[in-house]
Amino acid sequence: MIIAQRKNIPDLLAIVKDHKKLLVLGCGTCVTVCLAGGVREVSIIASALRMSAKLKGLPLEVEELTIERQCDNVFLEQAADAIKRNDAVLSLGCGAGVQAIAERYTNKPVYAGLDTAFIGILEERGVWTEKCAACGACVLHEYGGICPVTRCAKHMLNGPCSGSREDRCEVNPERQCAWQLIYKRLKDIGQLDRLKKIKPPKNWNRSQSGGYRTIIREDHRV
């Protein structure tokens, strides 16, 4: 799931202050689950923007709407009327959602209300942790399902680095050493042999180095 968090209200107001009618558009998928851009957050941010604008004497009307998914044209159509009747859109979707709106509504300013942070999971109530760096060439099978690219501070494929103390990372003692976890996990599933093999340098061509990535499935194209 994509994890995001809201920008603060002064920054948001600075972004939208030149518009008179603003649509705050939420997304019902990932950002709803991570409590950043769902119906509730749209309501809170819209209220905060209206109040903040009033205090600063700015004539800002704010409309609220949340659709099921911003990164999908089928769902985005449901917001068409609301987008048209407002001067600008403040999207509380992830970066993909913001750009989906911008591409579809070419004459309408679209702004990001959230900082999209990472792909992660809910660790406990109110705590999210990054688990995947979307590197494009998954190596999880080699490491017992624990990603050294994401979870090791040094992204080491042949770890550990020997800097860890107990099970803590030397870069940030609040975090667990990914390699400690990898060792324990491989031991538990009887695959410690995997660590005897030296891994070659990772091929980063499938990551972000060549600009944006595309996946084309000919079998699904029409």
């Binding site: 002064p10 509730r40 809170i44 905060a48 109040m51």
Partner: protein
């Protein structure tokens, strides 16, 4: 609105199991508290969401009081602790907006604490009176 004529309008969300009963008890005991508060009974302060506080203040309340059970004494175990975190979060947002965070406050009382509840209400009314009318109401249109 002139400061000297200003009578604060304060919305008080009172938990059914403590503060609401406490306010009732205050009535039975003939304890006076200012008529500036409008009490809304809630099943538990844990039912209250951030947007409730925001909407109350946006629609012109001068202050919002959230009155829940004593910590450890919630009928639903930890509803009041949820409310405490939400109140704190809303106060952070109010600071970002540039509004006085003192306009939103949470207190913990038991059903038997009529006098402390009345004192809290008196203190809240005086705090808001000193702050003056809600700047949202002054600068914008007042929703009645």
């Amino acid at each position: 609105m002139k400061q000297e004529n200003f009578e604060p309008k304060i919305l008080a969300f009172c938990c059914h199991y403590c503060a609401y009963s406490s306010a009732d008890l205050a009535g039975s005991m003939r304890i006076q508290y200012p008529p500036n508060v409008r009490i809304i009974r809630t099943p538990c302060t844990g039912r209250l969401e951030t947007e409730y506080f925001m909407k109350a203040l946006e629609n012109g309340a001068d202050g919002v009081l959230v009155a829940g059970c004593l910590e450890g004494g919630c009928h639903f175990v930890e509803g009041n602790l949820c409310a405490k975190r939400r109140v704190n979060y809303t106060r952070e947002i109010l600071e970002e907006i540039g509004m006085e965070k003192e306009r939103l406050r949470m207190v913990n009382v038991s059903a038997a604490m009529a006098r402390p509840l009345a004192d809290t209400i008196i203190d809240m009314v005086e705090t808001v009176r000193k702050l003056g009318p809600s700047p949202i109401r002054q600068n914008g249109s007042l929703k009645k």
